[in-house]
Amino acid sequence: MIPLFVLLGVLLVVAMWVIGTYNGLVGLRNQTINGWKQIDVQLKRRHDLIPNLINTVKGAMEFEQSTLTMVIEARNRAVAAAGPADSAAAEGVLTQALGKLFALAESYPTLKANENVKMLQEELAATENKIGFARQFYNDIATRFNTAQQTFPANLVAGPLGFKASELFEVTEAAERAVPTVDLSLKK
């Protein structure tokens, strides 16, 4: 009789532990999903800001038609992009195109002094930062989720309970990862 009670007791403890682990992992998974959604919210905001920017600057920058077109095209590709990897690549291109546009705008005194342009520039800088921070937050929370799944003893049950490791956000553009080369040879 006694061994039966011991067995039941052990089973109960194991069941409690599995339930606790499962609930903990579900909490982390939801946070991870929410973190991912936040990135999308910020990306959408950036896409919505760009037509405004183009309308504000196109009068003064008509000679820079190719840059403007480049930004619009990059934006449309970013909007259409599906899936994390694809979207990350398209957003990288868009960031570069915007950087070029703002660098060019520096040489137009009327634009530089324009309050609307300054405000839009501030808004875009803010959204870029928000995208960066949203990714950083997602990576932190996803790392915690993954660590919780992969450490012993949770790793024994995480797989059977249907949890998968979340993918982390990485710098997909080779150009962004590359260390800049500095040429000091002074050749003319």
């Binding site: 405000m119 501030e122 808004e123 800088a125 928000k130 921070f133 950083q136 937050f137």
Partner: protein
């Protein structure tokens, strides 16, 4: 200490501070009963107990509003009329954006943003939890710092919010303010009003020696209250500043921006006039510019509300592998 221990310790200390406040006021009230009314029944004691409990609860619920009002902070949303110069409007938009950015980095709800019309650079956070938090910055801070530096300062304040430092500091600020006010009142009343009646009540209450001892303890309590309150609020604040600096660097991954922001705040030497004494331990830099804040030593360790700026900047540089 990790984040959750930090939060738990702040919750615990908030309760402790409120309990000490209530007990202290009950003692003052009971002293009044025994020494002036000549009765052992705690009439004024109970009145003080109820009053102090209500006061402590009010400090917990709306201490942030009192702190913001005492610094004459204006919600940034109200600074949008056509009378606002374009350059300022850009700055106000910038601080709103920066707070949103850092809230995303910390994974917290966006706090309310206030601007204090003061030319000296300073900032503080207040509130009872991340859902009811506010960040206030002076106009001088907005004018003086670059976007990156502003972000670093906001990240420092966001760390105070995340740690629940704001709850403890706000309650301390509100209650220390109340104690200072009450003891001021009590001292004046004691010295001008009640000398004679004090003598007669001692006769009535019988125990001459006990009465005298009680009287002395009570007097000392009333006179020392503001000093003790000040010491308490200083003890609360200093170690937290290093921790908030470190968490700010973790949020923005940019310790050097905070180092250069602190440098600039430090070199703008004028005291922040709009920020009152009781609010000092909430701020990113000591608004009173006490000289002892600038160097190390036993006295400075005891009385400064903030660690020396040089040490804070040094710690941040070290995080960036730079000395």
């Amino acid at each position: 200490m990790d984040l959750f221990q930090q939060q738990a310790s702040n919750r615990r200390r908030t309760w402790l501070v409120m309990a000490v406040f209530v007990a202290f006021l009950f003692l003052l009230g009971y002293g009044f009963d025994v020494l002036y009314l000549g009765t052992r029944v705690p009439v004024a004691g109970v009145v003080a107990l109820v009053g102090a409990s209500i006061g402590a609860y009010a400090g917990y619920r709306s201490g942030d509003k009192a702190v913001l009002a005492s610094a004459s902070a204006v919600p940034v949303g109200e600074l949008k009329g056509p009378s606002v110069p374009d350059a300022d409007r850009l700055k106000y938009k910038q601080i709103e954006n920066v707070v949103e950015e850092v809230a995303i980095a910390a994974g917290l709800p966006v706090p309310k943003v206030f601007v204090i019309p003061d030319p000296d650079p300073n900032a503080f956070a207040t509130g009872r939890d991340p859902e009811h938090a506010s960040i206030a910055v002076t106009k001088g801070l907005l004018d003086m710092l670059s976007r990156e530096e502003l972000q670093a300062v906001v990240a420092h304040e966001m760390s105070h919010i995340r740690n629940f430092d704001i709850r403890l500091m706000t309650v301390v600020a509100a209650l220390v303010g109340a104690v200072v006010l009450l003891s001021d009142f009590g001292r004046r009343w004691l010295f001008w009003g009640g000398g004679k009646r004090g003598g007669s009540s001692r006769d009535k209450s019988g125990g001459g020696v006990v009465g005298a001892v009680l009287m002395v303890v009570w007097l000392v309590a009333i006179i020392l209250a503001p000093v003790v309150g000040q010491l308490l609020s200083m003890m609360v604040s200093r170690r937290r500043e290093y921790l908030a600096d470190a968490s700010a660097a973790e949020l923005t991954r940019n310790p050097l921006a905070l180092a250069s922001a602190l440098q600039r705040i430090e070199s703008a030497a004028a005291p922040t006039k709009s920020i009152k004494h009781g609010t000092a331990n909430l701020c990113i830099a000591d608004p009173l510019e006490r000289k002892i804040g600038t160097h190390e030593g036993r006295w400075s360790d005891l009385f400064a509300s903030h660690p020396p700026m040089v040490k804070r900047i040094g710690a941040l540089r070290e995080m960036a592998y730079e000395r």
